[in-house]
């Protein structure tokens, strides 16, 4: 297993009116982050904010190319980012103990925080298709270039790790600096991860190893 220190490229926030950052996703232009009472979007180039959608956003956030999926309490809502309308609602697999979420190949992948696992679910029904075990508390989850990455935050330590989606074995690990947690995770498809910073109120851009 390769391990290295996570390289923080840029920090955004804290943002006025938001204490805690949860899930993070990227639609190719905007970085969306779950801000508790609402879903907010920022421009990663300038750091300026685009828009806010008034929908409860307590944990993972994902984007399927058209819609945003957002976990709040024990539900996952499917939201049209252009209008802010909720178009569907499914139960969250962890019944509210869910944290991170990613979209990949027609499925949603939902982390269950203290149960140390990631569920692959049907985005139409919420049905659990399979479950991958992790070794640590799961926060953010993301897929990029066929690689499954997830963030952990446990025992006051945090890291971002690539795991084998079949076995759950850890293949590579980026350790976050002490006192820096990752609450949500998204890859931009190129060189970066975007990471929610929990109670720091920040969103961070972190170099993705190639």
């Amino acid at each position: 297993m390769k391990t290295s220190q996570a390289e923080i490229v840029r920090e955004y926030g804290p943002f006025e009116g938001t204490r805690n950052i949860g899930g993070v996703t990227y639609d190719g232009r905007r970085v969306w982050f779950a801000a508790g009472e609402n879903l907010r979007a920022l421009d990663p180039e300038t750091g300026a904010e685009f828009t806010t959608i008034d929908v409860a956003a307590h944990a993972g956030t994902a984007f399927d190319g058209r819609y945003i999926f957002q976990i709040a309490e024990d539900k996952i809502r499917k939201i049209d980012p252009e209008t802010g309308t909720v178009v569907a609602t499914i139960p969250a697999p962890g019944k509210g103990a869910d944290s991170g979420m990613a979209w990949c190949e027609g499925s949603l992948w939902v982390g269950q925080y203290r149960e140390n696992c990631i569920h692959q679910i049907d985005p139409e029904t919420g049905e659990i298709l399979r479950t991958i075990e992790s070794k640590r508390h799961v926060t953010g989850v993301t897929w990029v270039d066929g690689e499954l990455w997830h963030a952990t935050w446990q025992d006051d330590k945090s890291d971002i790790r690539r795991i084998d989606p079949k076995t759950g074995d850890v293949l590579e690990r980026l350790d976050m600096p002490e006192g820096t947690g990752v609450s949500g995770l998204e890859a931009d498809g190129a060189d970066l991860f975007y990471a929610g910073g929990g109670g720091s109120g920040k969103v961070r851009a972190i170099r993705r190893p190639r």
């Binding site: 976990i71 709040a72 309490e73 969250a92 509210g96 925080y113 203290r114 006051d156 109670g199």
Partner: protein, 406 residues
Amino acid sequence: MDSLITAAAQALAVGDAVGAMKRVALRDDPPALALRGIAMAQLGDLTRAKALLKSAAQAFGPREAVARARCIVAEAEIALVSRDLTWPEKALEGARLALERRGDRVNAAHARNLQIRRLLLIGHLDAAEKLLADLDPSPLPPAARAGHELAVAGVAIRRVRTEPARAALARATEAARKADIPALAVEVCDAAKVLEAPAARLIDDGRERLLQLGEVEALLASDTLVIDACRNVVRAGSEIVPLASRPVLFALARTLAEAAPSDVIRSILLARAFRARHADESHRARLRVEIGRLRGALANLAEVKATSHGFALMPHDGRKVVVLAPPVEEEHAFLLALLADGESWSSTALAIALSLSSRTVQRALDALEAAGKVQFFGNGRARRWMMPPVVGFPTTLLLPGPLPSE
């Protein structure tokens, strides 16, 4: 943190304790236990809150140091507000150090503040001042800052230093305004009234009047000879003769001072100092001995002169002599003074605060209760004592967010 925990924490942060409870009521994982504990504290069920926070701290275990430490700090704050002074200080200090090590300066400062308030409450002023001197209050958010300034004011008031007290109360008022918590603003406002309230009673040449704290401070700074029955010392300027451990000498000094410049006849001195109704020769001998001791103790401040009927107190350099007494003097006044803070106390806490035995405190409480001056609620170890007009627990809890992602 997971979704429901985040939702519950968010509800708590905006004061919706019931909403927070609803979301985690059925969960027993450590973050849920911690949130339920904080929610119960905000709802006023301090006993349940303490039990929940204790089990949360245990469930988090030593590796989740920050979450665990925050639970311990919350537990300590609840103990302080419920006047449960048997709280183990070591656990709080351990939690404070853990928070400091992990860079959680806000909650580390909050923990320090709790330690200071506890010391203040039990009258350990030197220790409280020492901790205050080392505490940097700048990371504290407004609500905790108000609590800190109240502690600073508390020390200054007990040290009879009006200006620092006034300044700290002004800062507390400003911080409470910023915090925008009504109960806290009321508490600061009540604390500020102390400066205008009677702090002591002056007995001067047979006349009595009430003094405010500022007037007491001015009196103590003058070169008047003060027989201080609030602290059981005799003082003039910077010269202080402590007589707290010598009650007979103090009673003699006070009796002589109340009559000065006239003398006091032996039978009155005997009655006041020894509570002797019919004096015999042995009492007279004892009086001579005690007057001799008083002469020695006060040698730098005054002379105790024998007259034909008794004795007279003659301050050096023709100084004025006055007696400074508590505003209300009655039996068990110290107990009532503690209860006057409007909180409910356990008899154990009162015993610790007054350095008295539990039995002595219990007897005094029973007597005061029979006289309708105090009341209790709860039974057995949970019994709490308070002054009659107070309802509930007015002291604001400023609990830390229990979770590291907070």
